[in-house]
């Protein structure tokens, strides 16, 4: 591998700054990596000798574990740091934390942080590759990528598909990464939710806006259903969980009248009976667990590409021929 030339640039902070070709190359690179996780011995030497820090300032199970599996299955050496039990709680600034890690000669940082722009901030200040694992309400690019990959697996090319993101778009980094990624790949994108949970001027991003879930279901080929964070109740954005489910919940009764089969995605963790009913989550059109499986492959692809791997060499690299 030639570490100096990454087809994605130094960092992955969001999908907004990537081109259609870059996004497609990540998805295409993820394809050969899918198979690694199906092997009996789930390890290839692609990132042997690379040191990766998973720096999580916010709680995460799925994303952190998915990154860690991706790193380990590519043979990287990994360290996990979470904000509790680290020097961050002792008042160290983000810059100092990063510079100290850097001083130990690391290669990549995977970071989740509560502040929008934090990944870009870090990437501008350290020479290591930075991968955004979620920054505030800004972007969660690997989630966006795994959603794209899952949609493509089940619906074929994204061009022309109608995808609606349903729920708390206002506070959602997943929504923004989906919007940018889907639009670059030629999908028609809509958002749907209570107007209190839709960002101001969201239509300016080029999306349709529905405020009734029935209209979204009537329109869409794919629904990506966002988690309703329970603290939103305290914020007064919606009066009650019961009302939310009643008005905006994706239920089998509502899907039954859809003019076409709708693919169901959810980034997790789900609130069953709130934004999504169990018979939808567990139903035949749900690809929620496929998303989780694809997450590992997409993250492998991102790690590989940022380390300087070329999309066309991924298959060979996997065999250990290019490590």
């Amino acid at each position: 591998m030639n570490p100096s030339v990454s087809p994605l640039g130094k960092d992955l902070v969001g999908l907004e700054s990537l081109s259609r070709e870059q996004i497609l190359s990540i998805l295409d690179t993820a394809e050969p990596f899918k198979e690694i996780s199906e092997r009996r011995i789930k390890k290839v030497p692609v990132l042997r000798g690379k040191t990766i820090v998973n720096l999580f300032f916010e709680a995460s199970t799925r994303t952190r574990v998915s990154f860690e599996f991706a790193e380990k299955r590519l043979s990287a050496d990994t360290v996990n740091i979470s904000s509790s039990g680290s020097s961050v709680v002792k008042g160290e600034t983000l810059v100092d934390t990063a510079r100290n890690l850097e001083a130990m000669r690391i290669d990549m940082v995977v970071m989740r942080h509560g502040a929008s722009g934090a990944a870009r901030f870090l990437g501008e200040r350290i020479p290591s590759n930075v991968i955004n694992a979620g920054d505030g309400q800004h972007e969660h690019p690997t989630q966006g990528l795994l959603d794209l990959l899952t949609i493509r697996d089940h619906k074929g090319p994204i061009d022309g598909l109608k995808v609606c993101i349903v729920g708390d778009v206002l506070h959602s980094r997943v929504a923004r990464s989906n919007i940018h990624g889907l639009m670059k790949l030629g999908a028609e994108v809509a958002v749907c939710g209570p107007p209190t949970l839709l960002p101001y001027e969201i239509a300016g991003l080029g999306v349709k806006v529905f405020t009734r879930v029935e209209e979204a279901i009537e329109w869409a080929d794919v629904l990506n259903i966002l988690r309703l964070q329970l603290e939103r109740m305290q914020g007064g954005y919606v009066p009650s969980l019961r009302e939310y489910n009643r008005i905006w919940g994706v239920t089998s009764a509502r899907l039954k009248v859809a003019p076409r089969e709708i693919l169901i995605l959810h980034p997790g963790p789900m609130n069953r009976g709130v934004e999504i009913d169990s018979d939808v989550a567990d139903g035949p059109h749900s690809v929620i667990l496929n998303q989780v499986t694809n997450g590992v492959a997409v993250r492998m692809a991102v790690l590989y590409l940022l380390a300087g791997g070329q999309p066309e060499s991924a298959e060979a690299a996997k065999q250990g021929g290019d490590s």
């Binding site: 980094r173 300016g204 991003l205």
Partner: protein, 427 residues
């Protein structure tokens, strides 16, 4: 021994006397003695050749944060007063949102004394409207004014309780001082980081809608109308805010208002890339708002240009956007920005600039200066309109460097700053 200075051969521009011509200005013992044609220098006078320079009443900034006490790592009264002088200002009004806040006569008097000791631009303290800036009950306004406060304000925080604002506007009338308010309905802007709009939506930052400022401006105007008190609205940034002030002035409401240089020249697009040096409160807004603020400055709806100089240590600004504090330094860039990007672009002419930066601030805050009329304080700003220079924050006299204007090429800047007849800064 007398101290005499002759400012020789400059273009003397004094809107307070509708004076504009090549004249000499004689200063003696801290006062202006005369302005006239070919004044011959007294024997002991120091003569400053002002040929090709603009001589104006000293510039006054009614809205600066000097951070002392409590924030000395960002700025002190002394460094702030020197920063003002280096920016061509002869006087500044220090906001009371220090730690502890200036809400009693002792702390107000201390700021006044420290300002004098600094020996640069004059420092006029302001006092809090409410005890501990808590927005609950009136601070000892009369005693603070006795101690030297020139206005009251809880700047940095709005007065959320309309009842308290009414009391303040009523009570302050005994003393003839303005009640200055940072207009923001916090219930509409909780956790807001920047202007609410497409930019905030794209960047995933919490927005502050224009309405959070508009509602508060309109409320303050109604209360000023009710009480007859003098409301001074700080750093107005919204189009409907400007419009409401314009209408209130037409009705005879006693209102004065500020425009900040950054709200006259920058939009929320300056935040792109999560640039914390473009983070301030009120936030940078849209081009439509910038146009409205410029129009408001031109037609007099906005009376003053005030910088809202807000120093922060670079460690504090070197943080993810949401975690960085609000505010930018402004004293050392204001003259250049206004000349280059407001006057040269034809928004206002030069006499109006001097009016908005000297005459009006002196008048509305009852401060000495704002005129070159004989007998007044010898506070004079000498500007070089043709100086071409590039902003270099690393050279600021201020302790802080947080400016979005670093690297900007500007035309026109201060040459001499004279306070009480003494040169406190020269280029």
């Amino acid at each position: 021994m007398s101290d005499t200075t002759l400012l020789k051969g400059g273009r003397v521009l004094d809107p307070s006397q509708v004076m504009d011509g090549t004249l000499d200005v004689l200063l003696k013992d801290g006062l202006i003695v005369s302005v006239g044609d070919a004044i011959s220098a007294p024997e002991d006078a120091r003569t400053i050749d002002c040929t090709g320079l603009l001589v104006t009443p000293g510039l006054i900034d009614v809205h600066v944060h000097l951070r002392e006490p409590g924030g000395e790592h960002k700025e002190t009264i002394a460094t702030g007063a020197r920063s003002a002088a280096a920016g061509g200002f002869t006087a500044v009004c220090a906001m009371p949102n220090t730690d502890p806040p200036l809400d009693d006569p002792a702390s107000v008097g201390w700021v006044l004394a420290e300002g004098k000791r600094a020996g640069a631009a004059r420092v006029y303290p302001t006092g809090c409207i409410s005890v501990d800036r808590a927005g609950e009950r009136l601070a000892p306004v009369g005693e603070m004014i006795d101690a030297g406060a020139v206005a009251i304000t809880d700047d940095g925080s709005p007065i959320m309780k309309s009842g308290l604002m009414r009391l303040a506007l009523d009570y302050a009338q005994s003393f003839g001082i303005p009640v200055a308010d940072h207009p923001e309905d916090l219930s509409l802007s909780p956790a807001g980081q920047m202007n609410e709009g497409l930019m905030s939506t794209r960047m995933g930052l919490v927005g502050k809608p224009n309405a959070s400022e508009d509602i508060h401006i309109i409320r303050d105007l109604l209360l000023a109308e009710l009480t007859g008190g003098h409301i001074h609205l700080q750093h107005v940034s919204t189009r409907w805010g400007v419009d409401a002030i314009r209408q209130a002035k037409a009705r005879g409401v006693h209102v004065t208002a500020e425009a900040s240089p950054h709200h006259l020249v920058l939009t929320d697009e300056a935040v792109e890339g999560y640039r914390t040096e473009a983070k301030m409160n009120p936030p940078l807004r849209t081009a439509e708002d910038v146009e409205a603020v410029r129009a408001g400055l031109a037609d007099g709806s906005l009376d003053h240009i005030a910088t809202d100089h807000a120093p922060h240590h670079y460690d504090e600004k070197e943080a993810p956007f949401a975690e960085a504090p609000n505010g930018i330094v402004g004293l050392e860039t204001a003259v250049g920005i206004i000349l280059t990007r407001v006057v040269d672009e034809g928004v206002i002419d030069l006499p109006t600039m001097i009016e908005r930066m000297s005459c009006h601030p002196a008048k509305t805050f009852n401060l000495p200066g704002g005129t070159l009329a004989p007998g007044g304080v010898a506070d004079v700003s000498v500007l070089d309109l043709s100086a071409e220079w590039t902003v270099d924050a690393s050279n600021f006299a201020s302790k802080s460097r947080n400016t979005p204007f670093d690297g900007w090429a500007l035309k026109g800047g201060p040459a001499y700053t004279i306070v009480g007849g003494r040169i406190v800064w020269e280029r």
